[in-house]
């Protein structure tokens, strides 16, 4: 009985340390999207990916450093042909999954730019998870990183890896640069 009580106590201690994975899978939205990006990488796949990231490449080394402490990366990004083509209640369904440890860090509301919500899973002083919701009329992006995250380091990655900028404004800047080069 005493051993059982100790076991329960230890489990209760460990529970808050275990970062939360959210369910971001909404097949009905993916079906309607004209373009979609789905990334689901759990711990073992992240370890495998880390082996293949180029240590001599500065950007990939940074990515390596970021993912080494993560236990999951889940990204679902959809683009639609027309405005209002996806069910906005999906955003509420994602928010409803957030437990009391999740804190809203930033909420951006804009008529012309992105509408971004960033939530952090705070365990004391430490960040144990990140949720990004970017809900626009023709775009929906949901990102869930599970594990300790250095936000400044993550933000400094944009535009790296030879991948075009993701945000519309930055994509326009990329196009501008290309035109100048031509």
């Amino acid at each position: 009985m005493r051993k059982f009580a100790i076991l329960i106590f230890l489990a209760a201690l460990a529970a808050p340390l275990h970062a939360q994975r959210l369910n971001l899978d909404f097949p009905s939205i993916a079906e309607r999207a004209s373009e979609s990006t789905d990334v689901t990488l759990d711990g073992p796949m992240l370890r495998l990916a880390a082996k293949f990231l180029d240590k001599s490449d500065h950007d990939e080394q940074q990515a390596r450093d970021i993912i080494k402490s993560l236990t999951g990366i889940y990204v679902h990004s959809y683009e639609f042909e027309h405005e209002g083509e996806y069910d906005r209640s999906v955003v509420e369904k994602v928010r409803a999954q957030l437990g009391p440890s999740w804190k809203s860090m930033v909420t951006v509301r804009s008529r012309v730019k992105e509408n971004v919500d960033i939530y952090l899973d705070m365990r004391g002083e430490n960040i144990a998870g990140l949720l990004v919701i970017d809900a626009e009329p023709r775009e929906l992006t949901l990102v869930n990183l599970v594990g300790p995250i250095d936000l400044d380091r993550l933000a400094s990655l944009e535009g790296e890896f030879g991948i075009p900028h993701f945000s519309k404004g930055e994509r326009e800047k990329d196009k501008e640069k290309e035109r100048k080069h031509e």
Binding site: T37, V39, L41, M45, L46, L48, A49, K51, F52, L53, E60, A63, I66, I67, I73, V75, S77, M105, V106, V108, S110, K113, E114, V116, I118, L130, V132, D134, T141, V143, L145, L151, L154, A155, S156, L157, E158, E160, F161, I163, H165, F166, S167, E170
Partner: protein
Amino acid sequence: MHLEDNLKRALARQSAPDGFAERVMNAVNAVSAEARPSPGASRHPLPEGEGRGIRRGWRAIAAGLVLTAVAGGWAAEKAIERREGERAREEVLVALHIASAKVRVAQQHVHEIGSH
């Protein structure tokens, strides 16, 4: 009726003659002893050196086949792991790129608010 009597007589159970079982067992033992090769001798006897060479040849072929199978399996497993690793690497880069873009947008907004 006559046919029935004949059949009954022909199929009637009869005891084996005395010593029948012993004679059968002796015959079986004699055949087995003939068929069993003596130790060290093959059914198709070859000169000693030649037989040993053939056996070695077969062993070498068998070892080669086993090695090829093991090496092939290992190489295939490595190729699969490499393919999965490269795919995971690309997915990590795409995912971090998207995540960082969104976080950066939020940070820019915060900086803009702070600078006003």
